[in-house]
Symmetry: C2
Subunit: 369 residues, 2 copies
Amino acid sequence: MKNLSRRSFLQNVSMGAGGVAVAASLPSFMMPPANDAGKKLNIAICGLGRYGNYLAEGIAVSQYCKVAGIITGTPAKAAEWKTKYNIPEKNIYNYQNFDEIKNNKDIDLVYVVLPNAMHKEYTIRAAKAGKHVIVEKPMAITPADCREMIDACKTAGVQLAVGYRLHYEPYNLEMKRLGQEKVFGQVRLIEASLGYKTSDPTEWRLNKALAGGGPLMNVGIYCVQSSRYVTGEEPISVTAQFGPITDKKLFAEVEASIAWQLEFPGGAFSNCTSTYNCGIDRFFASADEGTFELSPGISYGPFKGKTSKAELNFPEINQQAAQCDGIAKIILDNKQLPEHINGEEGFKDMKVLQAIYEAARTGKKISLV
Amino acid sequence: MKNLSRRSFLQNVSMGAGGVAVAASLPSFMMPPANDAGKKLNIAICGLGRYGNYLAEGIAVSQYCKVAGIITGTPAKAAEWKTKYNIPEKNIYNYQNFDEIKNNKDIDLVYVVLPNAMHKEYTIRAAKAGKHVIVEKPMAITPADCREMIDACKTAGVQLAVGYRLHYEPYNLEMKRLGQEKVFGQVRLIEASLGYKTSDPTEWRLNKALAGGGPLMNVGIYCVQSSRYVTGEEPISVTAQFGPITDKKLFAEVEASIAWQLEFPGGAFSNCTSTYNCGIDRFFASADEGTFELSPGISYGPFKGKTSKAELNFPEINQQAAQCDGIAKIILDNKQLPEHINGEEGFKDMKVLQAIYEAARTGKKISLV
């Protein structure tokens, strides 16, 4: 799934695949800065798993962010990252002494990339230490936890963002624009599906206490996201169905596959699937006067997209760099993160995810209004 | 949706788009005949609506079939068809004198293309008149009706086929082969969706008594079909959900949209949608070692397909001609139609469609075993 480009982010965003300048079509935070010597947001990464690595690689090529510190329980990882990212010893924490980060002026923000069930604790601890927070998606494992995290950050006077990399990805921004601006008229039907094959039974993502659920929590959340940002609406009802459990050992705790349907107030109907059983990565929307779609379009890229009128051709970007820059720019400018980026967005998704699980368990249509 | 090629069928099947001979990769009934002077199956078309026209145009360019007669209640249509297809007056029937076709040696087979709810009556009347029958899909509006039709044809000693045009379409035959031969391993997930925008409130397809149901009966049946022929299995359970009714006048009697999920004994999970609310035409399968897909791939073509390894490139064919030739060849050879072509296939689909409606109405998972 991962296909991280190592070309510099700047090069990626300022030039299209064919070498044509495309920067003018990119969001403002992706534009080359007027002054490269501008201040950077110093980020401490909390949790050095696979995705923590992707993030650090993205931040390393970002414009407005720097890997300034780490929080890890594994001394070997600490040593490796210290060298790789030139991190001073004093900016390296473990899970016991993490709260001392309060006294470290070199850290502006903590990026929480721990297993889902740990997001709440570490977000709240970071907030209490006076640090801004980006928490990886899913924001937590219940809506109540999300609310506690939002409140803790508010109380501490720090900002809280959720790590939705696709909010900064050109193909997905285009889907959002086509849907919300009704370029092809009212959207009637959305199909969004994301999945990959899981095989390691020791992975924390298969442990319900740590993950909070299966593919829905991890990848299905992107399909809920795209349904929401393409319609620009919140779903009013949910139905859902678990797929077959084909490997009883692997899927002893979490679903192997799940399908769900969302109804939106404007009349759109979304039918989605997420799975740990096989690969799938598709987004499709049909509106009154045309269609628009991506495949692949949800994973790490490179993406392909088209509408019923034309092929889409956007630059391949480093999604992690773009996301961190997008958030950092707002914080560095001393502005408030808008609601579609801050904790409220994670809370809204979590309410939908919880309803999807309830619908799948009970077989009932769950109202969200 | 309709994009009927007027190039001759023979030309289409013997040459690929690039002018390269591809006949060797086509089913045997599509091969140019050894002797063009061979006998043809004389077909009377019963019902001269839009699809009756498509069929006649296909038959006119077929190898083994001829438009030999018509059954219509509209004298103006009779006159028009008489000229267009050079049909002798004695081979033109109306719905009252239709049974006299029994004495007409010029007619071998009646193709029933009436509204769904009339399929049963005219199939049984044709059988009693000693004529073979092709009945358009959906075969009828209940499984019990399908069974009566099968029994009536058996009693009369005539053959009964269901008009599944995609059983003869190269891209769909390839999907079937890739799935059933497990070329990419066991299929885990299928997504199949077909829909178009309906706007004419007088259309019989919106009348429940005539159509038996909405888009599921008309186009969703293709998604049930592809799920069945790609897995080569019968579903063991069904869940389903009606989509929102966005136009209460148009959809006063039948569903506007419907989604459903099928579980197969080998572990495949199929999530499908059909709609009269907007355009959609996609088939996708993900297996243990790869994916294969068509889009468009269910409507009348031209189709596009690919696997995770390569683009697919098959000739565009006249689907109606190919289907009629496929059935005619077997009948002309005095062989029995195999089960995946005869009435049993229509009965199997109708059982699934009935369960989908029951699941959508009750919100319950319906067992099919």
